[in-house]
């Protein structure tokens, strides 16, 4: 009975979050489509022609999985950080906090919202990619798994950011100063074998490298890292962030006085 109550609450939150993504589709779905189109035009068509091949693939084909992941990462993060922080600022998060919903249900609801937006965006960017290059996906199930798990990791990261954020600046700092550099340095546009030894080793500390390369392996069948290591790293981050988010909400950090 209690399980059923939690399930109904969680489904209500997922429905609410999905409706939000679709209601403001001009803000949530279209912009990543436009941004990624520009990446394909500039880095793929214009500059890519001069670069030639990367790791045995046409440059456009090589960067496509990374660009899909880049949009999944920024959008799943942005979805949850924006939605949760707005709920905090407008105080309608209290609708959930006063209800019998458990912290696990609340986290799962927001997590699902972020993943759903990540999937929508991945689909849109993949469709756009087809206008510029071919996507012969080698491991489709793995590709979906990587997209879902990566969207999950960054939805949870966005949730943590929103939990601690006290003002709008706080939700802009992490995406600008942490997420963007890690994404650009995560092997979206290059193989790390091009880097000097030292920077190759440094790159292994960047979790986004594993996500981008896991996606690249799913699509191209080739990547800089071992796929099992990639999946394990994503899974480890997912579990760690999930437990942290649930713990913080249970403690009332950022949401209770």
């Amino acid at each position: 009975m209690i399980m059923n109550l939690q399930m109904i609450g969680m489904v209500a939150l997922v429905r609410k979050e999905t409706r939000r993504v679709l209601r403001i589709w001009v803000q949530t779905i279209i912009p990543p489509g436009i941004t990624m189109s520009l990446y394909f035009i500039i880095f793929g068509t214009l500059i890519g022609r001069r670069i030639g091949q990367m790791d045995g693939f046409q440059y456009m084909e090589y960067i496509a999985p990374g660009l899909i992941m880049m949009s999944v990462i920024t959008n799943s993060y942005g979805n949850v950080v924006g939605s949760f922080f707005n709920a905090k600022i407008q105080r309608h998060i209290e609708e959930m906090l006063v209800s019998p919903m458990s912290e696990i249900s609340i986290v799962t609801g927001y997590l699902a919202g972020g993943i759903i937006r990540g999937i929508f965006v991945a689909a849109v960017v993949s469709l756009i990619a087809l206008f510029f290059t071919q996507l012969n996906i080698q491991h489709p199930v793995l590709a979906i798994l990587v997209i879902v798990m990566t969207a999950g990791v960054f939805s949870l990261a966005g949730l943590l950011n929103a939990i601690f954020a006290k003002k709008f600046d706080d939700i802009a700092i992490i995406p600008s100063f942490v997420l963007a550099p890690l994404t650009y340095l995560g092997g979206v546009f290059y193989t790390i074998t091009l880097l000097p030894d030292f920077w190759q080793k440094v790159s292994y500390f960047n979790p986004i490298l594993y996500m981008v390369n896991a996606m690249r392996f799913s699509v191209l069948g080739k990547s800089d890292i071992d796929i099992f290591t990639g999946i394990l790293v994503i899974l480890a981050f997912f579990i760690m962030l999930l437990c942290t988010a649930i713990y913080l909400l249970k403690k009332g950090v950022g949401i209770r006085e």
């Binding site: 109550l5 109904i8 489904v11 609410k16 709920a87 609708e95 006063v98 019998p100 209770r256």
Partner: protein
């Protein structure tokens, strides 16, 4: 059974402010209970702790015998809350807000849709159901918050100044509605600055001042504690001199109106008898000030906070 049991509840905020100093009170099932106090007395903190929006420092709280530490989910299932501040998702549709809230309380979707319609109609907001919450007036937002709190059909309804900023007509309509749901079995705890509202609606009350309960009794008992009441009598003819009655202080405020000061043990009978013997009729009579307000000021010394001298 008690709808709410509060024992030795203490709250000290991170900045050191001691908002609640080991308070105790119970609210019986079916009561319409007023929790009164001046600004900053601790009323909202009590409601915040009961609804788990504020972490308590120490103490014990039970909602329909569910301890909020051991069985928070069951306790929260019994509670609906209308907060002091507007906390609606202003960019969400009005109907959706209610359906979501019902869902958060575990109400199946089909039933949620029915209840959302029912309570929007009750609050006369059905015609606005497709609009966003931000398009509503202040009074409508308050009504929407009440509908949102009721959609889970709680056994205990917490109303934190629900009629603040609401026009008189709407307030009276809300009073009637709240009386009705109370009669139907919902226990209500009301905080308000309109003491007339508390006197009209509530059968029990607690007054909290500076984090301590300074009064906790039935409304009837509390009102009988007033040491002095002043009645204004409108007369059917002008009088020139004050009618002399032993032990009564009477003054003429205008030619056809007198004020009679009545002490706790006195009745108004001698005054009426005296006026009748003088051939003067009493057209109407009222309390000069709200009785609960008098008592409230006496207990909390609220006027001294704003620099008005109390005699």
């Amino acid at each position: 059974m008690n709808a709410l049991t509060i024992q030795n509840l203490t709250k000290t905020y991170a900045n050191g402010v001691e908002a609640l100093k080991s308070i105790n009170f119970n609210v019986a099932e079916g009561d319409f209970f007023a929790l009164l106090g001046p600004n900053g007395a601790g009323k909202t903190t009590v409601i915040g702790i009961v609804t788990s929006l504020v972490n308590k420092t120490s103490g014990r709280i039970e909602v329909f015998e569910h301890n909020i530490e051991k069985n928070l989910s069951a306790a929260k299932s019994c509670i609906g809350v209308v907060p002091q501040e507007i906390n609606l998702n202003l960019f969400d549709g009005i109907f959706n807000i209610l359906v979501n809230q019902a869902g958060f309380y575990g109400v199946p979707r089909k039933e949620s849709l029915k209840r959302a319609e029912h309570y929007l109609r009750q609050m006369e907001l059905w015609d606005k159901r497709k609009e966003m919450a931000r398009s509503l007036s202040g009074g409508m937002k308050r009504r929407l918050m009440i509908a949102r709190a009721l959609v889970s059909e709680p056994r205990l309804l917490l109303l934190d100044e629900p009629t603040a900023g609401v026009d008189i007509e709407t307030r009276r309509a809300m009073w009637n509605f709240l009386r009705k749901i109370n009669r139907n079995g919902t226990t209500i705890i009301l905080t308000t600055h309109y003491l007339e509202e508390a006197e009209q609606l509530c059968n029990q009350l607690a007054i909290i001042d500076d984090g301590e309960i300074v009064e906790n009794d039935s409304m009837y008992n509390v009102l009988t504690k007033l040491k002095l009441e002043v009645f204004v009598l409108n007369l059917d003819q002008s009088i020139d001199a004050v009618p002399e009655i032993e032990d009564y202080f009477i003054e003429i405020t205008n030619p056809k109106e007198i004020e009679v000061h009545v002490k706790q043990a006195q009745t108004l009978n001698p005054v009426f008898e005296k006026l009748a013997s003088l051939g003067i009729g009493v057209l109407s009579m009222r309390n000069k000030t709200n009785r609960l307000e008098e008592l409230f000021i006496e207990l909390t010394r609220a006027e001294s906070n704003i620099g008005v001298t109390i005699e």
